[in-house]
């Protein structure tokens, strides 16, 4: 009757993700509409480093797998394994941000800054906002990782799954950004 079968944290995180989708949805829709309405976007996009972005896509996709393995380990209450997989997820996330930092530095060194025109506005805006979400996910995972190492995570083991849901969301956003910015 009271619907207590689904824990509140899970309902909360799903509503939170539902409200995050329109944030990136609005940004992506704006990009598509403005891009369709004007020319010259392909030339700007050609200056991006496709190889690095491809590596980044693999890093994030792999991290989605490790975060699921952390969840599976937490279901079995194997917190040593949880710590290992969360640690891997954090490393992969940091790797993504590191590659992104290399990309930004090279682009800015070649004179492509956020002020270099509308493509670059969207490029830095979209990847920047996504990067902040990756950073937030890393912070959440670090908190859980410390808990897993100290053993305090056992009382709140469901948090591994909730953090994983968010991490998948951040991953999926990248799956949209990668073709829109690098391939189109």
């Amino acid at each position: 009757m009271t619907g207590a079968a689904v824990p509140p944290g899970k309902i909360g995180i799903w509503w939170f993700l539902a409200s995050e989708i329109p944030v990136f949805g609005g940004l992506i829709a704006s990009y598509i509409v403005v891009r369709l309405g004007s020319a010259g976007w392909g030339e700007s996009s050609a200056h991006l480093n496709f190889t690095l972005a491809l590596i980044n896509t693999f890093l994030l996709l792999t991290s989605s797998m490790t975060v699921v393995m952390a969840h599976a380990a937490s279901e079995e209450s194997n917190y040593r394994s949880v710590a290992n997989f969360l640690g891997l997820t954090i490393l992969l996330g940091l790797g993504f941000l590191g590659v992104k930092a290399v990309e930004y530095t090279t682009e800015i060194a070649h004179g492509f800054t956020p002020a270099s025109g509308i493509f670059w506005s969207f490029y830095f805006g979209m990847t920047g906002l996504h990067g902040l979400h990756v950073l937030a996910g890393i912070i959440v995972n670090v908190v859980l990782w410390i808990g897993a190492l100290k053993g305090s995570l056992a009382q709140n083991s469901h948090r591994v799954e909730l953090a994983g849901l968010y991490w998948h969301f951040v991953d999926i956003v990248w799956i949209f950004l990668f073709p829109l910015l690098y391939l189109a």
Binding site: T2, P8, S19, G25, G26, S30, V33, G40, A115, L129
Partner: protein, 550 residues
Amino acid sequence: MKIFSTDHKVIAKQYLSVGLFWAITGGLTAYMIRWQLAYPETEVPGWGFIAPDFYNMLVTMHGTIMVFFVAMPILLAAFGNFLIPLMIGAQDMAFPRLNMLSFWVFALASLVLLSSFFVPGGAASAGWTGYPPLSAKAAYTGVNWGLNLWLLALALEFASFLMGGVNFLTTAINLRAPGMTFFRLPLVVWMQLTAAVIFMLSVGPLIAGAVMLLMDRVVGTTFFLPEGGGQPLLWQHLFWFFGHPEVYVILLPGLGIVLEVVTVFSRKPVFAYRPIIYATIIAGFLSFIVWAHHQFISGIDPRLAMPFSITTIIISVPFAFVIFSMIATLWRASITFSAAMLFALGTLGVFIFGGLTGIFNGSAPVDIYIHDTYFVVAHFHYTLFSAVFFGGFAGLYFWFPKMFGRMMNEALGKIHFWLTFIFFNSVFIPMHLVGLRGMMRRIANPMQYEFLKPLEPLNQFITLSAILLLLSQFFFVINFFMSLARGKAAERNPWQANTLEWTTDSPPPHGNFAEVPSVYRGPYEYSSPESAEDWLPQNRPLTAPRAALR
């Protein structure tokens, strides 16, 4: 009372206090705006001369304050926080600490907005809608940090209300008392939840838009600047994709309050309980596809304007249904004209008027003529003032005993209502006329135009009425504080109402209920033959509970 409390009732009162503080600030800006329009280029008594730049700031901040810092915290956050757990029979919100964080982020947003008045260049002055390119470059308005802080305050406020929305929805889904099915929820809870869903699904694009505008201003991107390939019109879409649903985010909780009050003081079951819920949900869906009716003169393709006209006129159908249900509830009822009921009926009357002028604005061919005139200003004050102030006061007079454990003074409340009702109409009915004769909004001195000079006496009448409207609110302020200090102690159920909040102490203790209530029926069983009295609380079993069967 702890300042850093996780109790939903304390947080509700905190939101209420901050909202009322901003209401006073918003009222003062209204006073200065109105004085300038009636007696342009004279000194405003108590302030001084108003320069055009300062006037732009006043109208910008009036809109921002009233929509985001009065309507949202009072109708949504204060009433939602107070009522949802109590009405569903829960001890608190699902995430009490998140609830506290939500308030403190809102308090931070308030501080940021307040500080924007005192930075060099003054507060934002690009209109409450912040249209670029005006808002995209500091050089255009002469306001740099004021507008940046304005964007920051809005972003913080949205973050705060997103946390609140997650909390409202999770609480209502997970923490309902045994027997409290979704179709036994009071209508105000349904409307709060629908408002929360609308808010959470519509605000995202504006959050993205605010980030983009801030980047345009601070790091030199050109999202909204044509010289860099950007699109000023894009902002209008992002803004109104949220901005129009926002109208219903504010309106629905107001209508919910009115439905509760009207039913209790009619002593009848509400008319068409389930269809009202369906109408609310339909209105929620439609609210996402009306936004471009704000852009009929922004160069929109007529083939696109027409569909938005049609959806806009269709959305009046579910709201008309809710209004007719209220009227049907009143039909042959035994009505008590308490202060709360007067304000509820006032909401009804004023909102009908605002809804009707909305049909004018929604029709693209008519809107092209009246767009950006005072007709539009009068229209949205009829809709929003009714929901926020008439609806909000109805809620405060009604739930004050439950919130603070004391009764308010009914006589002062009734005087407050009649003065507010009379002066509200004498401000905003003439404003329609002024608008139809061509007076445009956001002009510091309309009298500089020859054809508007004959409107000066009417503008002076409006201003006089507005000042009296503001002064009438002292009856509320005096009543509020006097009742708080020495009002008659409130019993548990002073209005003989059915919903669960009236079955616990006034004010309810931390944890709300001594034991978890069981719910046996819907919230509006008034004058039921099954009960000796004319009310039948949701938690009263008609037969002894069959403990053996459990």
